[in-house]
Symmetry: C2
């Protein structure tokens, strides 16, 4: 009458992605309507002329957010952005979301309203409808489950597995800011708790903090790509970290990669914060996560076209299988890229 | 820098359904593809010739299950049944599920595998594909988010709001067993913790315990109804409790109801356990929840047809608006039915 004792293999030995892969092996797909399942940003389901995309994510208090410095309105907004970014990453258009909430008794109705204000705001901005969910009590703070649905025309679907050797690796926006914003918020929280400094000093880092608390998704770039006639061969949203998400694409596409550290877009605030925290800014840029940017590959012959799109940067290229995945430094030094992404409690 | 203090309205004042209703007021539906949103078992989305149904639920350790007496395999199975029952309740056919897991470090890989064994078993039984999800670490035990998708032909959709006055109120299966099974498991757990009795005494109550730990959904009845040409005017799956779920239908349909306590199907084990626990078996049958049975209404003129279907019992009828919702006792006494359903920590 007791199965809570842990006698077996620690989950850490597999890591997040290893565990999913391990479990996915035993999954059998039986329905004709299932186009593809585990392993991409969203699941793909046949529905008439189009494909339905669906993805689900969990947001757990203490793991994904700390309410000490996260306004509930921002949290609601961010949860929606996280959900719909999985739909955009398949080149789809999100249409609906569902929110499942676990709420402990420490929350008031007004606080839940604040959370929903953010949810509704993001829904309005990204033109998605909140169509359902679940609400339950919780013993342990706030749990948010977000499910996003969207559609994509069959010929427009972009998966993670389509990159070829020599394809260019492209990104939108910049990297590491959300992570450094979090480090700053954490530092100020600790000061607040220790010395009861009432007013945290966050000035000069509004961008990094904004990236952490209220991210946006680069929808405009997707439209620009379509207009320019550029069709990515693979695509993913960067939520786990540039390194992890790039490795996903390589693994599923059967390619390797070279990216160049001086090509990775890093904001001034990220650099400045990295200096304060005494780390190389390439580290948060590669492994920080929560960037909600697009990472995609395009055929080499689209290079002239992609140069015209200001919001996109080419950071490297795919290589043949077996050549390893490397980050090339300024002096030509090569560091092997490894997937992380098991989100640790901060 | 602190928004975790609770100064506002306690959530308990609204209750689960009140809160959802309150929050739903501010939700704006903007997309043409959204057929209907919050307020039914699933959301309904236009997709070609058919409708896509989607629902999401949270399962939280300590609220929805206690791992002391819940085998992980059963838990996985139950989570799937809970998810797909929302699709069946709209007269749809479930096709896919997504599982989002929050796992604390106390769990081993083998335990997660056990959970997935149950998930896969239920998927096989109910012919649904596991197509995706999310896995994250958790500070606080096991969190399961389950999203279910299905389809239904437009003309076959059955919602909660279609009941009319004089319609017959029908149910499948029996009620209260899952709740009484839980009471028994809880009693034995307490004995185990207090007196270290190693072997819980559960003999004679296998049915009630099975209903709690590994419920099934009455899919066969849905097929029988179709074959018999009976078209329910409204339908819901009974997960929150017969009383709550009946009130939902009444509220959304604009009807009131009379049900008869001696017509409510109650299993022998439920009665026997109720006796042991010294409560009227009608109480768990009405308010226990987790029955995963169907509650539906049919036009009065389908009475002769429904009598032929053994798995369905008529428990009462709808009445005109304003006449109140009552449970009629053996002697003709009337007790007003009220919706509960804010699941309390056991």
């Amino acid at each position: 009458m007791n199965n809570t004792e842990n006698k077996g293999t620690p989950i850490g030995e597999y890591g997040k992605f290893g565990l999913i892969e391990h479990l996915a092996k035993k999954v059998i797909i039986g329905n004709n309507s299932t186009v593809s399942g585990i392993g991409d940003d969203s699941a793909v389901i046949e529905s008439g002329e189009n494909l339905t995309l669906v993805s689900t994510d969990l947001f757990l208090e203490g793991i994904h957010f700390n309410l000490i410095y996260t306004p509930l309105k921002h949290l609601g907004y961010k949860a929606v952005v996280r959900g719909i970014s999985d739909i955009y990453a398949m080149n789809g258009t999100p249409g609906q979301i569902l929110i499942a909430l676990g709420i402990s008794s420490k929350f008031s109705v007004e606080q839940v309203e604040e959370l929903y204000e953010g949810i509704n705001l993001a829904c309005e901005k990204y033109k998605v409808d909140l169509v359902g969910g679940d609400t339950t009590s919780s013993l342990t703070g706030l749990t948010i489950g977000i499910t996003a649905l969207g559609i994509v025309e069959k010929e427009s679907l972009i998966k993670r597995n389509g990159a070829g050797a020599n394809d260019l690796i492209c990104v939108t926006g910049d990297f590491g800011a959300a992570f450094m914003g979090l480090q700053l918020l954490e530092r100020e929280r600790k000061l607040f708790e220790k010395e009861k400094v009432a007013q945290p000093d966050l000035s000069g880092f509004e961008y990094a903090i904004g990236r952490q608390l209220k991210p946006e998704f680069p929808v405009a770039t997707l439209i620009e790509l379509r207009k320019a006639g550029i069709r990515p061969t693979s695509m993913i949203d960067v939520s786990d970290g540039l390194a992890s998400d790039l490795i996903h694409i390589c693994k599923l596409s059967g390619t390797c990669c070279r990216i160049f550290s001086n090509k990775i877009p890093i904001d001034y605030e990220t650099s400045k914060l990295s200096e304060e925290f005494n780390i190389d800014p390439v580290i948060p840029a590669m492994n920080g996560g929560e960037d909600y940017e697009l990472l995609f590959t395009i055929p080499l012959d689209s290079f002239e076209k992609i140069k015209q799109i200001e919001s996109v940067k080419v950071i490297g290229h795919m290589t043949s299988p077996g050549t390893g995945n490397f980050l090339v430094g300024d002096g030509g030094s090569e560091v092997e890229i490894s997937a992380q992404g098991w989100i640790k409690a901060k």
